[in-house]
């Protein structure tokens, strides 16, 4: 799961889940007692702490570095604070090249928000139909969805680019938005969620009350599936936020680029334009921290989603 289009998660697989909180509490009592020696506890915690240091350090460095001036970036030790230049840096970032950075940020937000909302809606409708209806071609659709999860996204990037050129959609918002809507893994998740969360009796009751099929889906189905849909939404969001190879191929207009392409472009240019280095650092910090915060704040949702998704995955 290292590359480009493919940064969405692979199918999680696990045996059926049980209520986690309860399991955790009882286990802590079991092995937290005298059976486990204090020494092992310290050793294990120390090991995990060292690992955490490795995972945290680059982000910490990024935050510290973005408060430094361009010259201090090179002259002061990486992890120690120097003079507070963060606001100057942000001001410089906002005015550089006519404020192009915020344009990129806006593009990234548009691609990710619009893209993930549409993707989630498509996945929800398809997953709901697979769970609620029996129709000709249903098994074929399921087989194709499962099979296509083996097709790596980045291999598709080049032919997708060729296709978009033929459609005249290269270098447009739609050219980047539309390919992202095809998200078979999301359909699979939505199907599983719908099976678990939408009782057919309820659909039938709504029908008897005279609710149309689409109204039932919009008012009942979406609401019942909502906790699962948050998972799809988050991963679709992260997938397009992280997207790099496709925009790199498809977009040539600087005004349309997302942050990933814009910032790496700056990084490349900073070899000849020294002032750009600190702007790349500050820009990266601004692009990482809010997303990380949102993603971690919503941890409970998507973690539960991953576990629920694994019930039948």
């Amino acid at each position: 799961m290292t590359a480009g289009l493919q940064q969405r998660p692979a199918a999680p697989v696990a045996p059926a889940s049980q209520p986690r909180r309860r399991g955790r509490a009882s286990r802590t009592v079991v092995s937290g007692g005298d059976r486990v020696s204090r020494g092992w506890m310290i050793a294990a915690t120390a090991l995990v702490a060292v690992a955490s240091l490795y995972f945290l350090a680059p982000v910490l460095w990024l935050v510290v570095a973005s408060t430094k001036s361009a010259s201090q970036l090179f002259s002061t030790p990486g992890f120690s604070l120097a003079d507070w230049h963060l606001w100057d840096n942000v001001r410089e970032l906002s005015t550089y090249d006519g404020g192009i950075f915020w344009r990129w940020a806006l593009n990234s937000v548009v691609y990710s928000v619009v893209g993930s909302l549409l993707t989630t809606l498509l996945c929800a409708a398809t997953g709901y139909a697979l769970a609620v209806y029996r129709f000709r071609g249903r098994s074929l659709l399921i087989a194709v969805v499962l099979g296509s999860m083996l097709v790596p996204g980045t291999v598709l990037a080049q032919p997708t680019y060729v296709l978009l050129v033929n459609l005249g959609l290269n270098n447009t918002y739609w050219g980047l938005l539309l390919p992202g809507l095809s998200y078979p893994f999301g359909v699979l998740l939505a199907w599983i969620f719908a099976q678990n969360a939408v009782p057919l009796e309820l659909i039938e009751a709504a029908r008897l009350d005279g609710s149309g099929e689409f109204r039932t889906f919009a008012t009942l189905g979406l609401r019942l599936m909502s906790s699962g849909l948050v998972t799809i939404l988050l991963f679709a969001f992260l997938g397009s936020w992280n997207n790099y190879l496709l925009p790199l191929l498809v977009l040539t207009d600087v005004e349309l680029m997302p942050l990933t392409v814009g910032l790496t472009g700056w990084n490349q240019a900073s070899i000849t334009i020294p002032g750009l280095q600190i702007l790349t650092v500050v820009g990266s910090m601004i692009s990482v921290v809010p997303i990380a915060a949102v993603f971690l704040a919503l941890q409970r949702f998507w973690r539960a989603g991953l576990t629920a998704g694994s019930v039948r995955g």
Binding site: M1, A3, G4, Q6, Q7, A10, P12, V13, A14, S17, R20, G23, S26, R27, V30, S31, V36, M41, A44, T45, V48, F55, V59, W61, A65, G78, C123, A125, T126, V132, F135, R138, L150, V151, P152, G153, T154, V155, Q158, P159, V162, L181, P184, L200, E204, R207, F214, N242, L263, T264, N267, Q268, I271, V281, S284, S287, V288, F295, L296, T307
Partner: protein, 312 residues
């Protein structure tokens, strides 16, 4: 459209197929359309496009014409030793990166699952944090750790008398591997951890009563029980390895030791853009797709047979 059958006659059908017969199709049509356009069509395009070539007439004036060349693009791709070597490179990379990352993810997941670790929520947050960092930004971030002029890492090593060049021809492959381990160990840890959390606890209690230590329980009970999750995360990591692009593409800017066709995907990108030969690029994409498919199938087969072996 279709005459509604009275519900008393076929009650079961009503439950699963209310409304017109077209209703389910209306639900799936949007997805099917984008799927056909952006999943199936690109595959067809790559296959067809790879069989053609654009040849400019005369002195390059007057536009190029597209001619059928059969498998000539494939022959060119296979004659390109740099392209072929890029597969060897990612294979070498994968042989080291995949086991290292899976061991890190599994050890952390097992530690978090045991009650040994204090402040578990915080540490899990720390391990997972890099996953929320876009891959290219992660590469950018690590590129500052690899350049001697800014790197706290290189400077720290120098202070204790170690002269490290993290971008030398021999080390740069592992510097790239480090970035993707940093980025992806967290999500794999979370998936394995979720699998561990859903295991029945009484088995371990019984083993404990029999005198098995925690380490023994982790290695010979827990790990085999989450084997499907381990196999699937491994499979997706291997597929990701073959697709390697973002990290080396970014690190390429700071070192001459990463060429523009360093990985298969980079070669495809370079040919399609700089080389201006989308046809050759398509043929190369088909080759990469097929190699990925074969590797996945071999791994799945291997997994299935070893699972059966374990059950015996």
């Amino acid at each position: 459209m279709v005459a509604q059958a009275p519900s008393a006659v076929v009650p079961r059908r009503r439950v699963i197929g209310g409304g017109g017969r077209w209703v389910p199709y209306a639900f799936v049509t949007p997805f099917v359309l984008v799927f056909l356009t952006f999943m199936l069509a690109p595959i067809v395009i790559a296959v067809v496009n790879g069989l053609y070539s654009s040849q400019s007439s005369g002195l390059g004036f007057g536009g190029a014409e597209t001619v059928f060349v059969g498998l000539r693009n494939y022959a060119r791709a296979f004659a390109d030793t740099d392209f072929l070597f890029s597969f060897v490179r990612v294979a070498l990379y994968g042989v080291v990166q995949v086991p290292v990352m899976m061991v890190i993810a599994a050890v952390l997941a097992l530690l978090f699952d045991s009650a040994l670790v204090k402040a578990r929520r915080f540490f899990q947050f720390a391990v997972f944090l890099p996953y929320a960092v876009p891959g290219v930004i992660a590469a950018l971030l690590w590129s500052f750790f690899y350049q001697p002029s800014v790197s706290p890492l290189v400077q720290g090593l120098q202070a204790i008398g170690v002269d490290a060049d993290l971008l030398a021809p021999g080390t740069v492959l592992w510097s790239v591997a480090n970035v993707s381990i940093w980025s992806n160990a967290g999500i794999n840890m979370i998936i394995l951890f979720s699998a561990l959390q859903s295991l029945p606890r009484d088995t371990f209690e019984a083993a404990r009563l029999d005198g098995a230590g925690e380490l023994r329980i982790a290695l010979s009970l827990k790990l085999p029980m989450i084997a499907p999750a381990v196999m699937l995360t491994t499979l997706s990591t291997v597929i990701g390895t073959l697709q390697l692009f973002n990290e080396p593409q970014v690190l390429q800017f700071i070192t001459p030791n990463i060429s523009s066709d360093w990985t298969p995907n980079m070669a495809i990108y370079a040919v399609s853009t700089l080389g201006r030969d989308a046809h050759l690029g398509s043929a190369m994409a088909v080759i990469l797709g097929l190699v990925t498919l074969v590797v996945s199938l071999v791994l799945v087969r291997f997994t299935n047979s070893s699972a059966r072996g374990g059950a015996r």
